[in-house]
């Protein structure tokens, strides 16, 4: 310990101690000279050796390297600025992506003890749901000792201890207060009407309010008063109605495992009370809940995909800069030669070059962080994010940026440094490999963005297997209002009759899971060893006609039919290749259903996934409270919602059905989303190709300036312009060609994961590949020819004279 402090002292008082050491040695010499002994050692070197005992020599050398680097970089500001910008883009894109991930999944919510917040969900080896019955949530709340708090949330967290008999109250969000009530300061105590029921506003959430699971509702109501606002609701006392979300806080000192153990015993107790409503082997799945987003496995996949794309940009930037460094090394040949001649070892030169790379990378990372901050700030404002989210880099982001800088420095600096230290900078092979790498990486990015652009076009101009433009969905949410299957059936058939009577309505049908609805069901199975996602649905016979989904084989259901199933074309092809699917049995054990028909592929519940397959069952009486009406208009559907609303009003005034036009829904949910994704990825791709183009531009113009004399002599001897151009550009031909082929190959292999979001465009879509490659070739040709043209405009006499 003492030694460490002494070392620090020696560092701090270096100058004085060095002078004292010098004095010691001078005195030594004086004395030795008196006695007639002359010592001809190198004093400077001896002093350096003595100083080494202090253990700070590495710092001195680092200081020397840094000073030298600063001088070198300052002397060529053009290169420095280019290099820092290229790196800032490469690192900045990654930092921005990571900051976003950090904000969503890593940063704790700004609440007390966010780490103890947990999201609790029902899961069993076969089943999963994000919601659970209110009664179960209450049971867990009352009995679990490992949780210090349990919140049951129907859409949103509760505001305070609530009771069904208390006067109805509401808390509104800051945004609603500002926009709807113009920030009225006397809002508290005012009565508003929700579902025509009066409620008193008792509070406003703060502007930077952090809510659980990233939900941002405008109105918060006590959960116990849900039946008051939704007349006839039995959500709170039906043990089979899974519709509340459960959150909890782990009690102090309790781990996730301990809580899971206790909850499992409670689940088993619940099974005793409600044997029907608890699954086999059910357990409560505990996820950390103290972040903006509770991450699921699939979200990590998306994150990994984005990380891959942004890392490709960094790869382009690094390869680019590596090329620039190598090119610069040729002009630095003299300088490095001199340094070697005066005694610098290879290692010393290598270290100096690495220092240069690290300095460049650090500058790039700093600029990149600034860039990322600006972009995220703009994005957060544009996308109306929660007020407490801040794009200011925290320690995780700073650490990440530092890591990125080091990785970048290794990638762009290491190989050139090795090359230069061995004084082999004139070899072109490394430069060619770097060009190939850049081209390959830009190629992948361009192909991916081109695929996504195609997907956008596809979404805009084709149907997802059903004609949605004239559809209107009406979701009366009968289950929520306490309808029994029988009363629901009666209501729905009356509703259907009255709607059919309208001349504007062409046909009406019932479906349990409508397109773009609030819930989706998915069964993941394997057919012939390949994973298949089957989207099940429960429909009424007229569904296929209303949706304009063709029945390709067999027939639709008869009314009241049971134990039969209609499968989509793709499912039939996968399950029974080359056989007639009609009459086959589907399912396992005693619950097998007979296939009676094959319908056209229609991505009702998975619009973006071309690999999805569908399976339809006839809706049974028990399904009636969950059914949704689908209308097909004869003409323009925009007039239908008000009519449907008044019909529903007359039938049961308690209900507030959700009436939605598919056309508008589709535009808002699907088109905008896919357009945004395509725009973002295209921008990333464009940045990559521009960076690569700048790199090629620089390399070609460099190689032209290196070969000025040769070119001038050739031209003086009568070489044709074309020959001169070929001579200059030939060395780039192979790397570009190989890079493009490799890039296309990688894109073809990697884009398989994209299939789910390509809306039916094949991941090997030739048009997309061709478009991407044409753009790439055009940009590269431009980047190559622009500087090469300089070779043709040489002033021969002057050039030759100069040399």
């Amino acid at each position: 310990m003492g030694e460490f402090f002494r070392r620090i002292q020696y560092l701090l008082n270096r100058r004085r101690l060095d002078r004292e050491l010098e004095n010691d040695m001078e005195f030594h010499r004086e004395m030795a000279a008196r006695e007639g002994r002359n010592n001809f050692g190198n004093t400077l070197r001896m002093r350096e050796q003595a100083r080494e005992a202090w253990g700070w020599t590495w710092l001195d050398r680092l200081g020397q390297d840094l000073r030298y680097t600063a001088r070198t970089l300052a002397r060529s500001p053009g290169f420095t600025v280019t290099a820092v910008l290229v790196l800032a883009i490469g690192i900045g894109v990654n930092v921005a992506a990571f900051s976003l991930f950090n904000m969503v999944a890593l940063q704790p919510l700004p609440v007390r003890d966010p780490n103890s917040l947990v999201r609790l969900e029902r899961r069993s080896p076969q089943d999963y749901t994000s919601e659970m019955p209110y009664l179960s949530a209450i049971f867990y709340r009352d009995h679990a000792k490992s949780l210090s708090a349990v919140m049951a949330v129907l859409g949103v967290p509760p505001t305070r201890e609530d009771s069904p008999t208390a006067p109805p109250v509401a808390v509104i969000s800051y945004a609603l207060w500002q926009h709807r009530f113009a920030g009225d300061p006397s809002i508290l105590g005012r009565t508003i009407r929700l579902n025509k029921k009066p409620a008193t506003i008792i509070g406003i959430t703060p502007y930077a309010f952090a809510s659980l699971g990233g939900q941002r509702p405008d109105i918060w109501l006590p959960i116990a008063q849900q039946p008051y606002f939704i007349g006839g609701s039995n959500v709170l006392n039906d043990p089979s109605n899974s519709s509340v979300r459960m959150w909890g806080r782990l009690a102090p000192g309790v781990t996730k495992q301990m809580a899971a153990g206790e909850l499992l015993t409670l689940t088993n107790e619940l099974r005793h009370q409600h044997p029907k409503d608890i699954w086999d082997n059910e357990f409560i799945d505990i996820h950390p809940g103290g972040h903006l987003q509770v991450m699921q496995a699939e979200m990590y996949q998306v994150a990994a995909l984005i990380a891959m794309l942004t890392l490709l940009i960094l790869a382009v930037a690094c390869a680019n800069l590596g090329g620039l460094l190598l090119a610069r090394a040729v002009t630095r040949e003299r300088e490095i030669g001199i340094r070697v001649a005066v005694g610098a070892g290879r290692f010393r030169i290598f270290r100096q070059l690495c220092t240069e790379s690290l300095v460049l990378a650090s500058l790039g990372a700093l600029t990149g962080m600034a860039l990322s901050y600006v972009v995220l700030r703009v994005a957060l404002v544009r996308f109306d994010s929660p007020g407490w989210l801040s794009p200011v880099p925290d320690w995780r982001v700073i650490l990440f940026a530092m890591g990125m800088a080091v990785i970048a420095a290794i990638f762009f600096g290491f190989a050139p440094a090795l090359h230069i230290a061995r004084q082999r900078q004139r070899k072109t092979i490394v430069r060619q490999i770097l060009i190939g790498l850049q081209i390959a990486a830009s190629c992948v990015l361009l192909i991916v963005s081109s695929l996504l652009v195609r997907a956008t076009q596809h979404v805009l101009f084709t149907n997802p297997g059903f004609a949605y433009q004239q559809l209107v969905s009406i979701d009366p949410q009968l289950g929520r209002y306490g309808y029994t299957p029988a009363s629901a059936q009666a209501y729905l058939s009356q509703m259907q009759d009255r709607l059919r009577a309208l001349p504007e309505v062409k046909s009406v049908a019932l479906v349990k899971l409508p397109p773009l609805g609030h819930s989706v069901s998915r069964m993941d199975t394997e057919i012939a060893g390949r994973p298949v996602a089957i989207y099940p649905n429960w429909v009424e016979p007229g569904f296929f006609q209303t949706m304009s989904i063709p029945i390709l084989l067999g027939r639709t259901f008869y009314p009241g039919e049971k134990r039969v199933v209609i499968v989509s074309e793709s499912l039939a092809r996968k399950q029974w290749p080359g056989q007639n699917p009609i009459g086959q049995l589907l399912g396992d054990g005693p619950n097998q259903d007979t296939v009676i028909g094959v319908a056209g592929d229609a991505r009702v519940n998975a619009m973006s996934d071309d690999d999805a397959v569908e399976q339809y069952w006839p809706a049974q009486l028990d399904d009636m409270p969950d059914m949704v009406l689908m209308l097909r208009a004869t003409g323009e559907p925009s007039g239908l919602p008000p009519m449907a609303k008044s019909i529903s009003e007359r039938l049961d005034p308690r209900l507030f059905p959700e009436i939605r036009q598919m056309k508008l829904l589709y535009r808002d949910n699907v088109q905008q989303q896919v357009e945004q994704i395509a725009a973002t990825v295209s921008m990333i791709g464009l940045i990559a190709i521009l960076v690569a183009a700048v790199g090629i531009l620089g390399l070609v113009s460099f190689s032209v300036s290196q070969r000025m004399k040769e070119i001038a002599i050739r031209m003086a001897l009568g070489a044709k312009k074309f020959d001169v151009l070929t001579a200059v550009l030939r060395q780039f031909l192979w790397p570009v060609a190989i890079g493009m082929i490799a890039g296309a190959g990688v894109a073809a292999a990697a884009s398989k994961v994209l299939r789910r979001i390509l809306f039916g465009v094949s991941n090997l879509d030739p048009a997309s590949y061709a478009a991407a490659l044409v753009v790439l070739v055009a940009i590269i040709a431009l980047a190559g020819l622009l500087p090469a043209r300089r070779a043709l405009r040489l002033d021969l006499a002057k050039t030759l004279h100069n040399e």
């Binding site: 002494r6 004095n23 010691d24 004086e30 010592n39 001896m46 002093r47 050796q49 005992a53």
Partner: protein
């Protein structure tokens, strides 16, 4: 270099380790400046050992950092301001352990030379 042609330095005691030992030993009685340390060792070894400044000063710096000696300003016999080195309690402890180690090793070697 320390000329050590008369001392057959046993393995565990490195040349510079031996120099540390010698320096600590001559500082045990009084504090001395660098040149005096070299002189003292030279004289005490019957002019067999010559300590050169190229090794003396790095070793002294190391000992300063280790905390075995400290340096104070003093006046030389030629009336010049110079740093004098004196041994610290830590240095004394180090000297003791090193000496006993050294004794053990030389004894061991002698034993082998005598009996083998």
């Amino acid at each position: 270099m320390l000329i050590t042609h008369t001392i057959n330095t046993p393995k565990p005691v490195t040349p510079s380790g031996a120099l540390v030992l010698l320096i600590l030993r001559v500082l045990q009685s009084s504090s001395l400046h660098g040149y005096a340390i070299a002189q003292r060792i030279h004289i005490l070894s019957n002019e067999v050992l010559a300590v050169e400044e190229g090794l003396l000063y790095p070793t002294l710096q190391k000992m300063l950092v280790k905390g075995w000696v400290t340096a104070e300003w003093g006046i030389s016999e030629t009336n010049r301001k110079v740093r004098c080195y004196c041994i610290t309690p830590d240095g004394r402890r180090h000297l003791e352990t090193e000496l006993s180690d050294y004794d053990r090793v030389t004894q061991g070697i002698q034993e082998v030379l005598r009996t083998a």
